[in-house]
Amino acid sequence: MSARVHDLVREFGGRRVLDRLDLTIGDGEFVALLGRSGSGKSTLLRLLAGLDGSADAGVSGTVEVPGSVAVAFQEPRLLPWRSVRENVSLGLHRDLGADTPAGVADTALAEVGLGARADAWPLTLSGGEAQRASLARALVREPGLLLLDEPFGALDALTRITMHRLVLDLWQRHRPGVLLVTHDVDEALLLADRVLVLTDGRIGAEHRPGPRPRDPDTLSALRRTVLDELGVAADAA
């Protein structure tokens, strides 16, 4: 099991954002979480990442995650004063065998197509390149659970398509459990094994878009259903 969440409640100042939420992510399963802005997607992801203080009185319920969890955020969050390679290798404390952190980082950077920029300063990267570096940083941790919080939200449409392919490719090769938080219905239907819709603090609906590769045309009926569940009139979107 990549993650198990049971009866999770998160309140901010008495306002309930997550309301007795249950969620299971199987081993190596790719799950997409859709929800309107402010529906609590990031809140759930931060709880899974261990970034939300469990000592806080507003949290209850159980969250089980594997020992190694990695996160890629919407902004790449690279340290601007460390090289791209160091951004990937720093903080890496797992047993690497004969390999070095720098060597592992170089391999991961080559895998995301950034091998040539390993020595660059992060601020000289384009948005897509920086996001690739952030993915490489997550990958080298060999996570049992990979959390992606709208990692393509700030990218242009063309770069996003390339990144979709890259993420699928990396997932198929490394097989972590994935929770992809997004507000892009097409992205969710295209990538995930299972698409969840977060409404009123719970998983309100669940869909399985079927075997890959998927044809965007055959997904259109499902797309309409999901948009409906998100409270968006399909013809308006």
């Binding site: 969890v69 955020f73 902004e75 340290l79 601007p80 460390r82 601020l123 941790r141």
Partner: protein, 282 residues
């Protein structure tokens, strides 16, 4: 000029990359037009002195100043005074930087440190430290100690404030990314907090150097028996305005030199910053 500016605002990162890797040309060809008014002013100054409009005991002529500069250099008066002043500033800087950076780190890094250190420092900061000269003379006499302490005190506050602000201002999103990436507390400090506080710290250093020179001028021209300030006060006794101007010019040169050193340090330490905005502060 305007066309390159436009191209860079489009966020062309590759331009920034090549700029950052190829060493920038050491010096642009000096624009001679910028010399017109300074040279004219010096010429007018010389003219006013030669025609007697400007009396010798009010302000010596440029030619007299240059001659005096050579004289005091050859006689050893200037080099000796310079060495003494440099020594005082260096000692005061080391002391002030050490205390300022340490207090800034303590109050920036730990909540209790902030509670304990910040209020008294903020209170003392409002005192004009140059106004402490009379008190310092009463407490420490006219020897080296009050001068070094005055420099140290002047340096302490800008360093403290900027280190504190730098540490507190580190992007919390980077700290989160570091924590999910498995950074140990030591790695957090070394790779996130300290480098994040560096730009602000270097700004503090530049401010501190300016204040250090100001402090030493005030301390040395108030009461001293050696140093540049002493040379100036001695010259006043004999109405040697030429020597006074030489002393002031040397102070100015020292200030410019240390400022240039910090700029160079900034270019090295902050090499990660994109080429454009870093050069924009000049």
């Amino acid at each position: 000029m305007s066309s390159t500016t436009l191209a860079r605002t489009a966020g062309d990162r590759d331009v920034a990359a090549t700029r950052a890797t190829t060493p920038r040309p050491t010096r642009r060809r000096p624009d001679l037009r910028r010399w017109i008014s300074p040279v004219t002013i010096v010429l007018l100054w010389q003219l006013a002195s030669s025609t007697g409009v400007l009396a010798e005991d009010e302000l010596a002529s440029p030619v007299r100043v240059v001659t005096a500069a050579i004289d005091v250099t050859v006689s050893g008066e200037l080099p000796e005074g310079l060495l003494v002043s440099l020594g005082r500033v260096a000692l005061g800087l080391v002391l002030g930087l050490t205390v300022g950076v340490t207090l800034g780190l303590v109050s920036g890094l730990s909540r209790w440190g902030g509670h304990l250190v910040d209020p008294p420092v903020q209170m003392l900061r409002t005192l004009p430290h140059l106004g402490l000269v009379p008190l310092f003379i009463l407490w420490f006499g006219v020897g080296e100690l009050p001068k070094v302490l005055l420099v140290a005190l002047g340096v302490l506050f800008p360093m403290y404030l900027n280190v504190h602000a730098g540490v507190r201002g580190v992007d919390p999103k980077l700290l989160e990314a570091a924590s999910v990436s498995g950074f140990t507390p030591a790695e957090r400090l070394r790779h996130v907090v300290l480098p994040g506080a560096m730009p602000s710290t270097l700004t503090g250093l530049r401010l501190a150097l300016g204040i250090a020179w100001l402090s030493i001028i005030v301390a040395e021209t108030t009461a001293a028996d050696a140093g540049l300030g002493y040379m100036i006060m001695n010259a006043r006794e004999f109405l040697r305005t030429d020597v006074i101007v030489v002393g002031l010019a040397v102070y100015a040169l020292l200030g410019l030199t240390t400022d240039a050193l910090v700029r160079r340090l900034e270019r090295t330490v902050l090499a990660w910053r994109p080429a454009g905005p870093a050069g924009a502060d000049r």
